[in-house]
């Protein structure tokens, strides 16, 4: 049959259109760019780390694995949202980093039970970060490193202003005010005034919690409103840096002297040390009230296996190899690029970089004052609380009535998750 030009063009147009349709969303990382291992192809997703060298490092680890062809995808942007959506489809990752998994992800069966991988090594994992990965007695992700948030302060600026490192929330309010000048603000808690970065830490500093161990609301107490009211005071005093080009998770504002104190992550410690030498110290969020104690959140990205993976067993084998057997890689990942505490207690104990100065203080605070967010503190509860905190800080909303409304919402959310379990 002779094919006319019209037929050819018509077929071509159809083919191109279908090609376009099928191409949409097909980049799963399962094809191309693999490590070259002999076994099945595994797609492994990481969120984009800011520290140079991390991406190359994880690709190097993947390339060293010989039993599967592991293809690493480095995903910038809203990683948590990306993975949450990808887990609903067959085109998601096989293994992936997760800032969780959340209770709903576990209960909907989106992640695979990894308990068996911890045989004989469970006690070597930091219990504070293993607990939120555990539900129903099973472990759903392998903690990769321990991360924490803490308060950085500039020693020389405090000395110049005659201010000592604050030991209570009241002292923090006073110190921030005393340190504020025309060009330098006293404290940076994030461009939202601390609602997101501090989250529930002030509740723990007041001796309370987000959700108690027996699954009840942990802040139905006047001490909560009192502590949150002090964050409003910081804002009302104009002691807070707001509108910085880089948000709280980046130490730029602190090292560029836009602020004398900043709430930031342990990951920023090498960058701060490089810029300021020893002219800085770290603290937990100071205690509030007689029942309070200094507090800081510790958490961990975990490595999980997607329940939709076609190669679940191979994926588990890979994770066992990478995050349980390869101590050298784990230490390299934690300390050679950014700055994190290894999730394995044995590795954390012998890491030389964690033994002196501010790093040693941070490690000590993580065990003495660290808390981790329980699984029952669901995203819906977190959003309701953060919205209320934002209104308290920025709009001067009444802390008691705002918290009353949050307690109601969190109680309803806890009822929902209990009903389903």
């Amino acid at each position: 049959m002779a094919i006319s030009r019209r037929t050819l063009l018509g077929t071509g147009a159809t083919g191109a259109a279908l090609g376009l349709l099928t191409a949409c969303g097909s980049n799963t990382g399962r094809d191309g760019g693999g490590s070259g291992g002999k076994g099945p192809r595994l797609a492994q997703w990481y969120h984009q780390y800011g520290e140079p060298g991390t991406e190359q490092a994880v690709k190097r680890y993947a390339a060293a694995y010989k039993k599967a062809d592991v293809s690493v995808q480095w995903r910038p942007g809203n990683y948590d949202e990306q993975t949450a959506a990808a887990l609903l489809t067959d085109s998601g990752p096989d293994v992936f980093e997760v800032n969780g998994p959340s209770l709903d992800q576990i209960r909907e069966g989106q992640v695979v039970d990894l308990t068996a991988l911890f045989d004989g090594v469970k006690d070597d994992f930091n219990p504070a970060v293993l607990a939120p990965k555990t539900y129903d007695g099973k472990i759903w992700a392998i903690p990769q490193v321990v991360d924490m948030h803490l308060l950085y302060y500039r020693k020389s600026l405090l000395d110049d202003a005659g201010v000592r490192p604050p030991k209570s929330l009241d002292e923090l309010v006073d110190a921030a005010k005393a340190l504020t000048t025309k060009d330098v603000k006293g404290l940076f808690l994030g461009n939202d005034g601390g609602a997101g970065a501090l989250g529930v830490t002030p509740l723990y500093a007041a001796g309370l919690s987000s959700v108690t161990e027996d699954g009840e609301v942990g802040f139905d107490d006047p001490a909560a409103a009192r502590a949150l009211g002090k964050l409003r005071q910081l804002y009302a005093d104009k002691s807070l840096l707001l509108g910085a080009p880089a948000d709280w998770s980046d130490p730029s504002a602190f090292v560029q002297e836009l602020t004398a104190m900043q709430w930031c992550g342990l990951w920023a410690l090498p960058a701060v040390k490089k810029e300021l030498g020893d002219d800085f110290g770290v603290l937990a969020l100071p205690a509030d009230g007689p029942g309070g104690k200094p507090s800081l959140p510790v958490g961990s990205y975990g490595a999980a296996v997607s329940a939709r993976s076609d190669h679940k067993e191979e994926a588990k084998d890979f994770l066992r190899w990478l995050w349980i057997d390869q101590a050298e890689y784990q230490e390299d990942f934690a300390l050679s690029y950014g700055f994190h505490i290894p999730a394995r207690l044995s590795l954390a104990k012998k890491a030389g970089k964690l033994k002196e100065g501010a790093a040693a203080d941070a490690v000590r605070y993580s065990t003495e004052y660290g808390y981790s967010e329980p699984l029952l503190w669901t995203p819906a509860s977190r959003t309701a609380y953060q919205d209320a905190l934002s209104r308290i800080i920025k709009s001067g909303a009444n802390p008691e009535s705002e918290l009353k409304s949050v307690v109601r919402k969190v109680r309803a959310e806890l009822d929902r998750v209990k009903k389903k379990s």
């Binding site: 049959m1 006319s4 019209r6 037929t7 018509g10 147009a13 159809t14 259109a17 279908l18 349709l21 949409c24 809203n78 948590d80 949202e81 949450a84 959506a85 887990l87 609903l88 959340s102 709903d104 992800q105 209960r107 909907e108 989106q110 025309k182 060009d183 994030g190 461009n191 939202d192 005034g193 609602a195 997101g196 970065a197 989250g199 840096l241 707001l242 509108g243 910085a244 080009p245 948000d247 709280w248 998770s249 504002a253 836009l258 995203p379 819906a380 959003t383 953060q386 919205d387 934002s390 209104r391 920025k394 709009s395 001067g396």
Partner: protein
């Protein structure tokens, strides 16, 4: 076979060319829409194939939800700012450019160019360069020359300076586009009307504008207003990029699409509740648009 190749079987060729795109429309628009309506009747946390039917619970909880109703208020406030300001500015630009005897094409291009810029890029420039809250932001530098304190444009709610940032970025981006629509409308007005008005003694300026130009631009004005309101409903990019932080989005100035994005696709992954919100929003947009079109008499035959 010959009948496939000939012109006589137009139906076949219609489907060959239209079919793939119709298929795409069905697959990527209508099926997700129908699925979303389906999901809205289920408790669908982290799943698109739920089995826990909850009837209208998602709808009632969405309607009782302060965050959703606040987002509708945000939309109303935003529309109240952006619709009249864009309308007036683009009309003013069109009138100015239309009167130019020289370099009209140049000024038309200059005012239209921002429309080619992405909302995300413009929002980032506004946020990081012009309206950042520290001493080296452009706005703060200029105000600093007059001794003013640093203003955290996007972080203060009292006064709500963030509206200034949100409205100006959108004005900059879209005034040029609507200017082109008005220009097209202006150029369709017959010069004889102005001549007749001049003969009748109408004073150039406000009187001619009010009695000749604006009535002649009625159809364009109605279309521009409708488009502006629909665009305001769809506001997402600049709000999200200006106000969201690494820890989330503040409760103030959260338009409906941003709220639904966080509910359905954010970490909350409450696809049932998010879908109910999307259905409610679609209904509201439909009612407002139809009401507005009827009020303006869109589609009614000219007398």
């Amino acid at each position: 076979m010959s009948r496939f190749l000939g012109t006589q079987n137009r139906t076949l060729w219609f489907w060959v060319f239209v079919g793939p795109f119709a298929l795409g429309l069905i697959l990527f628009t209508y099926v997700p829409l129908a699925w979303s309506v389906y999901l809205s009747f289920f408790d669908a946390h982290n799943t698109v194939s739920p089995d826990d039917f909850v009837g209208f619970d998602n709808y009632t909880s969405m309607l009782r939800n302060d965050a959703f109703t606040d987002s509708l208020v945000t939309f109303a406030v935003f529309s109240a700012f952006i619709v009249p300001t864009t309308f007036v500015l683009s009309l003013a630009l069109a009138l100015m450019v239309n009167r130019l005897r020289r370099a009209q094409a140049f000024f038309r291009s200059v005012f239209f160019l921002p429309a080619a810029c992405s909302y995300v890029v413009a929002a980032m420039i506004w946020k990081l360069s012009i309206f950042n809250g520290v001493r080296f932001g452009l706005a703060n530098t200029v105000l600093g020359w007059f001794g003013a304190d640093q203003t955290a444009w996007l972080s203060t709610t009292d006064p709500p300076w963030y509206w200034l940032v949100i409205v100006t970025v959108r004005l900059w981006l879209q005034a040029g586009f609507y200017m082109i629509l008005f220009l097209a409308g202006l150029q369709r007005i017959s010069p004889t009307l102005y001549e007749a008005a001049a003969v009748d003694g109408a004073r150039p300026g406000w009187q001619v504008l009010r009695h000749i130009t604006l009535p002649q631009l009625r159809a364009t004005s109605v279309a521009v207003t409708l488009l502006l309101v629909i665009n305001a409903f769809q506001a997402f990019d600049e709000f999200y990029n200006l106000l969201s932080t690494s820890s989330g989005y503040p409760p103030h100035a959260r338009p409906p699409l941003v709220y639904l994005y966080y509910t359905a696709l954010g970490r909350e992954q409450n696809l049932g509740l998010g879908s109910a919100g999307a259905v409610l929003l679609a209904l509201i947009i439909a009612v407002v648009t139809i009401g507005q079109a009827r009020w303006f008499g869109l589609g009614r035959k000219e007398d």
